[in-house]
């Protein structure tokens, strides 16, 4: 039995949250609580850095595995392990949580202790999803994520937060319970919850179709794919900045991760069978939500719709079922995790100063906040997919892989790229250029903390754009196992 690093990753934020909740809040200042939360999250990040260092890329399969019997009777076990697909997402999570806490340093003033506790719980549950290789424990974490997120949006959200947070919770739950039934059925057939073993099991074709749709219901809501995406703009607009960051950065990836880890290895026949459905939904998502994004007046809503479009690339890439497509989709996931998180932070910065998210309320910001518009530009260009930034690599690979599958798909995705460029450039132009409005003049430029985390994010974006091999080395082997 080696060092239980994965359990430690789950438990560190959990124990941190517990300690904080037992401490006497009256005596602690808000800053102390934030700082202690930040220390825990940073420690967690450093801990998670051990994973890529000690991960053996040459070896296939799960590593750092931990196994404890949990429900002896049903052969449901506490079985953890990571491979190349989960490690970057874990790193993304542990990287974004400290940033979320940093960016709320000034904006969250009431009930600070609860805020930090919910964030740490959220982190623990998300990591739990990525490290579990038993279906039941995967589901437990997948669902548990909803609880802290529900509270975060509900307590610190905007005016219409109740509607948004209820919609978010119920939409996701409704999708998930169907997956629960499918999981139970799978366990009853295979007599195990072990993902590795189930991947080798071949289900009857008709049953595959039904089971695939059950899983699809859950993941499509989470990604979100076209007809199930309506909760996302609401949740994003109402959530506090940190909530949006973690939502766009990590929570959306849970769905795509589920497709890669569960749907495709389990249901080979059904994955090919439903390819056209997923392609059409994703194409609609890319083109339709891009057009919707063009017409938005609210910055957050525009970025939320752009998230749906970008996740459309991910689902297309995954379901080309080729190595290139999957690699591209995965790269796009990570890139989108960084870039959209950064864009929500960008909106958060001006919202905190000017208390409006309407695009029309801003103009000529670049004259007043030059550093701000510099970082804005970096992330905007990355979102557009400029070569040299991380956004380019993923989109390029996905589009390239679609040619071998279906040329029309290529046309639609390419149109999506153009539309994406147009709304992002439009947003950038309207906010940053033009005459300086009188009430813009009082805005102050970025603070040191803000510069710090924007630099981290920008560095990652450009690093991945210039040297994508860093990520591909990690994921190549694991993804090639997933493809059948």
């Amino acid at each position: 039995m080696s060092f239980p690093i994965l359990s430690l990753l789950i438990l560190t934020p959990l124990i941190g949250a517990l300690t904080l909740s037992l401490s006497n809040s009256a005596q602690l200042k808000n800053k102390t609580i934030f700082a202690s939360g930040l220390w825990i999250a940073t420690g967690e990040f450093i801990l998670s850095l051990l994973l890529p260092i000690f991960y053996d890329k040459a070896e296939n399969g799960y590593q750092f595995t931990e196994f404890h019997t949990w429900f002896d009777k049903f052969d449901i076990n506490y079985y953890l392990g990571v491979d190349g697909v989960s490690i970057p997402l874990i790193l993304l999570t542990t990287f974004l949580v400290p940033i979320c806490l940093l960016c709320s340093w000034n904006s969250i003033q009431n009930r600070v202790k609860e805020f930090v506790i919910y964030f740490l719980l959220l982190e623990s549950f998300i990591i739990g999803v990525f490290v579990s290789i038993d279906l039941v424990i995967f589901y437990v974490f997948f669902e548990a994520v909803l609880i802290p997120m529900f509270l975060i949006i509900g307590i610190w959200g905007g005016e219409n937060r109740l509607y948004a947070t209820f919609k978010f919770f119920l939409y996701t739950l409704a999708g998930s319970v169907l997956m629960l039934l499918a999981i139970i059925y799978i366990i009853s057939i295979t007599n195990t919850g072990n993902i590795e073993i189930i991947s080798k099991f071949i289900f009857d074709e008709n049953i595959q179709l039904i089971l695939f749709l059950c899983f699809f219901a859950s993941f499509a809501v989470k990604v979100p794919m076209f007809p199930f995406h309506t909760w996302l703009p609401d949740a994003h607009v109402q959530a506090p900045t940190s909530g949006s960051v973690i939502l766009a950065g990590v929570l959306l990836k849970l769905g795509a991760y589920g497709f890669m880890r569960l749907s495709i290895p389990f249901f080979e026949f059904a994955s090919y069978y439903f390819q056209p459905l997923i392609f059409s939904l994703s194409c609609i998502a890319i083109v339709y939500t891009s057009i919707v994004a063009l017409r938005q007046t609210d910055m957050k809503k525009m970025i939320a719709y752009s998230s749906v479009a970008h996740m459309g690339f991910v689902t297309i890439g995954i379901f080309t079922l080729t190595q290139d497509g999957m690699n591209g989709a995965y790269f796009q996931m990570i890139s989108h995790g960084i870039v959209s998180a950064a864009l929500f932070l960008i909106v958060g910065v001006v919202y905190e100063r000017h208390h409006t998210r309407m695009i029309s309320d801003y103009s000529g910001v670049t004259n007043i906040m030059p550093k701000y518009s510099f970082f804005f530009m970096v992330f905007m260009l990355s979102s557009v997919g400029l070569p040299g930034t991380s956004g380019f690599v993923g989109e390029f690979l996905v589009i390239m892989s679609t040619i071998s599958v279906n040329v029309y798909l290529t046309i639609f995705t390419a149109v999506g790229v153009i539309l994406g460029a147009s709304y992002m450039l439009l947003l950038y132009k309207n906010v940053n250029f033009g005459d300086v409005k009188s009430d813009i003049k009082k805005l102050t430029d970025l603070t040191t903390i803000e510069i710090f985390y924007f630099t981290c994010l920008a560095f990652l974006t450009i690093l991945l754009g210039i040297y994508p091999k860093l990520l591909f080395d990690m994921i190549d082997a694991s993804i090639s196992i997933g493809i059948l």
């Binding site: 429900f71 009777k73 039941v136 437990v140 529900f150 119920l170 039934l181």
Partner: protein, 462 residues
């Protein structure tokens, strides 16, 4: 020759009642001490000597374990309930020793009901239980609502008892026997009779569409009585229902099985649709209990796969949760009395952290959201029902739990997101604080260490 030894727990309870009647006249508080000691002794006896009680009976070993475990759970529940009721009744100026007697009679009835092996004893047990419940509903004699609740409960309950007797007599007419073991091949008349018996039992456990009394009675009667209705007698009736289903092989009789499935589906849906619009806490809990009855009926129908363990596990988790929820609510009062509306919970997070967080755990557990124990309870039931092939009912069950999540979330919304309107007077009794914190811990820690509970429930059945 009557084997008196196998009645030992019931005789012991009867003695306890007689002592309480005499003693209660002199000293009200002494009855509480006597009864808690009595029940503790009973628990010890049942744990160590329980098997010797039924060695001459015709029960199978599984049934004996079932009966013993139910009696132990009922006894533990009674101790907790008697202690809780004292404080709560004193707060309402209702503390009279008769209440303790009603509890004892109801528990005696439940004991008789659980271990009966023929319809006549079952009827006596059920009536003894129900009559005490009617009185408990109307216990707040100065309050019109409470009187109304008692009358409603009584008149509808009497009707259902009529059904029960009529059903039993039809079965007797057909088979010339009351004993479960002698009922093997049913003719149409027996099937109709059995259907009537089932309907009466569905009424007692408040399964829809026989549930109409539930919200009104819960709302009108004193809160502590509502807790009793929702927990112990219902538990006993469900165990009896399970035994009937099991021992009479109802799954083999298509017509009755169909009734069972229909009632299960309707309970699941009526429970959640009724609860959505409720503004009163107790009515909401009443409808939510109807939804949970639907789940338990589902478990009863699919017992073959995981044996009695699934049902027991669900019932234990449900009892723990419901005791927790009520002990929080009993603790919340405003200057005008106890809170009744959901809006009374507004801002609970600010006024009492431990209560709000415990409530959060209970509500998420009732909604079946992991990682709380309520999720696993539902998970096992769904596993059993899917293995049994009840796909449609399983889908209805999960859809109902999504809708249920909506109203549980609304309560959480009130506690966590809203500001409080009235100053809450917190009645911090040590006992109820202990109960809700203990329940919340059980529901949470189950995730980390499920073995003790699972093994306990499992080792008894095979």
């Amino acid at each position: 020759m009557i084997d008196f030894y196998s009645f030992a727990p019931e005789i012991f309870l009867l003695t306890l009642i007689l002592i309480s009647i005499t003693l209660g006249v002199l000293n009200k508080d002494a009855t509480i001490t006597i009864n808690t000691t009595g029940f503790s002794l009973l628990i010890i006896f049942l744990i160590f000597k329980g098997h010797s009680l039924y060695q001459n009976s015709l029960f199978s070993l599984n049934t004996i374990n079932l009966i013993l475990l139910s009696k132990i759970i009922l006894s533990i529940g009674s101790i907790v309930f008697i202690l809780l009721s004292r404080r709560s009744l004193k707060n309402e100026n209702l503390f009279r020793y008769e209440y303790i007697l009603f509890i004892l009679f109801a528990i005696l009835g439940s004991f008789v009901l659980i271990s009966s092996d023929n319809f006549l004893t079952a009827f006596i047990g059920l009536e003894l239980q129900s009559l005490s419940l009617y009185l408990m509903a109307a216990f707040n004699t100065k309050n019109l609502n409470s009187n109304e609740a008692g009358i409603k409960y009584f008149s509808l309950g009497a009707l259902s008892s009529g059904f029960l007797l009529f059903g039993i007599s039809m079965i007797y007419f057909d088979t010339a026997s009351f004993t479960f073991q002698n009922l093997a091949n049913f003719s149409t008349i027996s099937e109709v009779g059995l259907a009537l018996v089932l309907i009466a039992l569905f009424f007692k456990v408040s399964a829809a569409p026989f549930h109409i009394w539930t919200p009104d009675v819960y709302e009108g009667s004193p809160t502590i009585s509502a807790l009793f209705f929702a927990s112990l007698p219902k538990f006993a009736s469900l165990i009896f229902l399970f035994r009937i289903y099991h021992e009479l092989n109802i799954s083999k009789i298509d017509s009755l099985n169909y009734i069972f499935q229909l009632v299960c589906a309707i309970s699941l849906l009526v429970g959640v649709y009724g609860a959505i619009t409720q503004k009163v806490i107790k009515r909401l809990l009443a409808f939510s209990s109807i939804n949970h009855i639907g789940f338990i009926l589902l478990a009863i129908m699919s017992y073959q796969y995981m044996s009695e363990g699934t049902i027991f596990f669900y019932l234990i988790i449900y009892l723990v949760t419901i005791f927790g929820v009520f002990s929080v609510i009993l603790n919340l009062r405003t200057s005008e009395g106890e809170i009744t509306l959901l809006t009374g919970l507004n801002g609970l997070k600010a006024s009492s952290r431990s209560k709000a967080i415990s409530m959060l755990v209970f509500l998420f557990s009732l909604a079946g959201i992991p990682p709380f124990a309520g999720f696993f309870a539902k998970f096992f039931i769904l596993s059993a029902s899917i293995n049994e092939g009840l796909y449609l009912l399983s889908v209805i069950a999960v859809i109902s739990s999504v809708i249920a999540a909506f109203y549980y979330l609304s309560v959480i919304k009130n506690m966590f997101f809203n500001e409080s309107e009235n100053e809450l007077l917190l009645d911090n009794s040590k006992l109820s604080s202990f109960i809700f914190i203990f329940s919340a811990l059980v529901l949470t820690l189950f995730f980390f260490y499920p073995d003790p509970l699972i093994n306990l429930v499992d080792s008894l059945f095979y």
